[in-house]
């Protein structure tokens, strides 16, 4: 796999040099980075150790998701329209993954001490990072595009299928340089150190904007006549990147190619190239500064918010059963408050989930209140649970750290109940990231749909916590902050987000079902769910901690 990638990069030698990158250095940087990615790390409690397998699992699930897209693509007669829809979904998914998971790779400062003293220019450094990300994103995109590609091959003659895979790769590059472009634009206005803080918020805002743009599409998809509609090209079609990519594939069909299609297809080729020139040749100045500033972020004194700390302590003492659990809580709270990479992985999901909910529910914006009130049972429960579920990312990010070697402490301490550390940390994440959001949406929900939804909201809350706890009980136990953030695992979160939609939908369905019963039954089930939750926490605490490979 690495060999194939390096071969492809060698084909790009001229363009890379033309962009101002040093080809020899980029090649060795990429080779080394990919070699590192695929070597297994013998850390204290490594549970993986099968990195290629991780990537293959991801490939499989993305391909399964692609199967759904293939069905949609196949059923739409107009190629241009079908492809535009397909590329819209693809670009949004890619953007979501890049924003939430690969941003940290662009601004990674862990190897500053290794790379910055060497004679590498900004362009080389940036380009090597972008190509490194492109490797993983290209992989994800190809997995998603595999089955739709087969649909194209069956349905469309000519070299359309070749153009299609070219367009898929171009779409990842386009999305990657567009997001990086936004970051750099902001870095010009904001100074290095503050920029790092702002990136997190930019991620949330960008996530929302991209999804908001995406909102246009389901509205078109709504019409039943979609299958037989022919896409008309308006002036704004030229501003919509997925339609460029669709047009590029269309040119491979040989028939029905108009000047408009050719123009759109030209944009699909020109924009990734000119965007790369703009970004790498002209905007990469100061990239070193952004990286350099990050080295010293820990030099700043930490401000402690006294009043907030008190409240949090009260809650902690109330729901933690042992001192070890409290210690786990404290560790998780202190670490997640300051770890930028944690924030960058978690915060965007709140934006995504919110817009996801809006996209799926499609409330009438002109008549928002009435349309929300008129929402049917299933939709409103889906809305509540999907937003509540965003907090689960915080729990799934708990194992990750940049300093896995610090995990020696868990082995060196005379500690028996390692699992209490985990349960305490999980509790703190639920209280910090799930509870507030859920309480906040409870208020408008009760106001919109009346007090009669209260039992369902209660049950929904317990249901979400159970959904978060079940995977923890099924997987190998991983203590907080002991796993390195591996390149292969990036892309996993977006994948989990997509598939957890199904679980959330099931939960919402159950809530809907329960709303048809008398209220007392729902309360009874809620009490049962609460009991189950307590039981699950107890089971989590009872789990034995087995370090799979000892520290060497």
């Amino acid at each position: 796999m690495i060999a194939v990638t390096l071969f492809l990069v060698r084909l790009l030698k001229k363009p890379i040099q033309w962009l101002g990158g040093d080809f020899v250095q980029i090649e060795i940087l990429l080779r080394t980075k990919l070699t590192l990615d695929f070597r297994n790390t013998p850390s204290a409690f490594q549970t993986s150790g099968r990195k290629k397998q991780t990537l293959m699992t991801q490939f499989f699930f993305y391909a399964v998701y692609g199967l759904l897209l293939a069905a949609v693509l196949y059923s739409i007669n107009d190629l241009l329209l079908g492809l535009t829809i397909f590329f819209s979904v693809l670009v949004v998914l890619l953007a979501m993954t890049i924003i939430s998971e690969f941003t940290t790779v662009i601004f990674d400062s862990r190897d500053n001490n290794i790379l910055l003293p060497r004679p590498l220019n900004n362009r080389t450094l940036l380009l090597s990072r972008l190509l490194h990300i492109q490797f993983y994103m290209g992989y994800i995109a190809l997995a998603l595009a595999l089955f739709p590609g087969i649909a194209i091959a069956i349905k469309v003659k000519g070299i359309a299928v070749l153009m299609y895979f070219l367009a898929v790769l171009l779409s990842t590059w386009l999305t990657l340089i567009f997001t990086t472009f936004i970051y750099f634009l902001i870095s010009k206005k904001v100074e290095g150190e503050r920029f790092k803080d702002i990136v997190t918020y930019v991620q949330v805002i960008m996530g929302i904007l991209i999804f908001a743009g995406y909102q246009l599409l389901p509205r078109i998809m709504d019409t039943n006549v979609l299958n037989n509609t022919v896409m008309k090209i308006h002036w704004w079609t030229y501003l919509y990147p997925p339609s460029w990519l669709a047009a590029l594939v269309k040119t491979g069909e040989y028939s029905g190619i108009t000047l408009q299609v050719l123009l759109l297809a030209a944009l699909a080729v020109i924009l990734p190239i000119s965007g790369a020139v703009l970004l790498i040749r002209f905007m990469s100045i100061g990239f070193e500064n952004i990286l350099g500033e990050a080295v010293v972020e820990s030099a700043l004194p930490v401000s402690n918010n006294g009043a907030k700390g008190f409240r949090s302590t009260t809650v902690r003492n109330l729901i933690c059963v042992s001192d070890t659990e409290k210690a786990g809580w404290n560790l998780a709270v202190a670490t997640t408050k300051r770890d930028r990479k944690f924030k960058q992985s978690v915060y965007p999901y709140f934006g995504f989930m919110f817009v996801f909910a809006i996209v799926i529910l499609k409330p009438d914006l002109k008549n928002l209140l009435a349309s929300l009130q008129a929402m049917n049972g299933f939709s409103k429960f889906f809305f509540i649970t999907i937003i509540g579920f965003a907090g689960s990312t915080a729990v799934s990010q708990l194992p990750y750290t940049d300093m896995p070697e610090a995990a020696w402490i868990y082995l060196a301490l005379p500690l028996q109940e390692h699992s209490h550390l985990l349960s305490g940390a999980v509790k703190s994440m639920l209280v910090r990231f799930f509870l507030p959001v859920y309480l906040i949406i409870t208020v408008p929900a009760l106001w919109l749909w009346g007090l009669k939804t209260l039992p369902q909201i209660l049950l929904g809350g317990f249901g979400i916590v159970l959904l978060i706890l079940i995977p923890l009980l099924l997987q190998n136990m991983v203590l907080p902050f002991t796993q390195i953030r591996e390149m292969q695992r990036k892309g996993m979160n977006s994948l989990i987000a997509i598939f957890s939609m199904i679980l959330v939908a099931v939960l919402a369905g159950l809530l809907y079902l329960s709303s048809t019963f008398p209220e007392w039954i729902t309360y009874l089930i809620s009490a049962f769910a609460l009991g189950l939750m307590i039981l699950f926490f107890r089971m989590l605490r009872k789990r034995k901690f087995v370090p799979t490979k000892m520290y060497q």
Binding site: I28, R39, I114, P117, P119, L120, E288
Partner: protein
Amino acid sequence: MISVRLQRLALDGYYLNFGKASMGNLLITIRGLKKSYGKGASRNDVLKGIDLDINPGQIIGYIGPNGAGKSTTVKILCGILPDFEGEISIFGKDLRTQSLEIKKHIGYVPETGALYDLLTPNEYLNFIGALYKIDASVLDSRIENLLSFFCMEKHADQRMDTFSKGMKQKILITAGIINNPDILFLDEPLSGLDANSVILVKELLISLAKDGKTIFYCSHLMDVVEKISDRIILINNGIVVADGNFDELKTEKADTLELLFAQLTGRHDNEINTADLFNGIKRN
């Protein structure tokens, strides 16, 4: 035995024909160097105006208490922290605008074991060498010679994540001089090394300096600094508080560098502190 090994390195053309021609010219000039982290109330001034002129062929011991700004200075000089106030020129080139040219001729040995430890020494050193675009055959013989100098040749193809701190340190030092630099910056180069390796590195530094290279290193090992440095620069609270060779710096009261250090940086009340500390531990 060390001298034999050093000779072998020299035969490799390793540190011959360099530097001597430029003797007498200023190699590094630093004017009004300031660096701070953070803004507003949380602003932390680490360097508050450092002026230094450094000649080639010297070993400079850069010392100071923890947090005095030693590592920050070194990181600025080798381009890891590009954002600073003041003027720095190295080889007569401006560090801000010509850092790429400068970086080709400097080496850096970081304080923390920053290397890709999933690689083997051979892989890592080849990677670093390739970034400097060293000719493959030259690079191969350099790696071989340097590894055997540090008695690491039998570990050349083992992954470094199993290495001890000292073994990693040897690889870091090797990576720092792989490009045959004219100036070598070292941040605590002796940390983790065994006694034999300390002698080895000291000899290496001395002979590099004899050959016209400039060594700029931070250390807490006062006796080593005292012995091998041509010039000692002591910083405290972000400013230079003493600068000269050991004979110039020592006074009647402070005739070792350790005492001098304690005198100048205000750490002579150590005894009282330790007593308090022990009482504190006993009470709990």
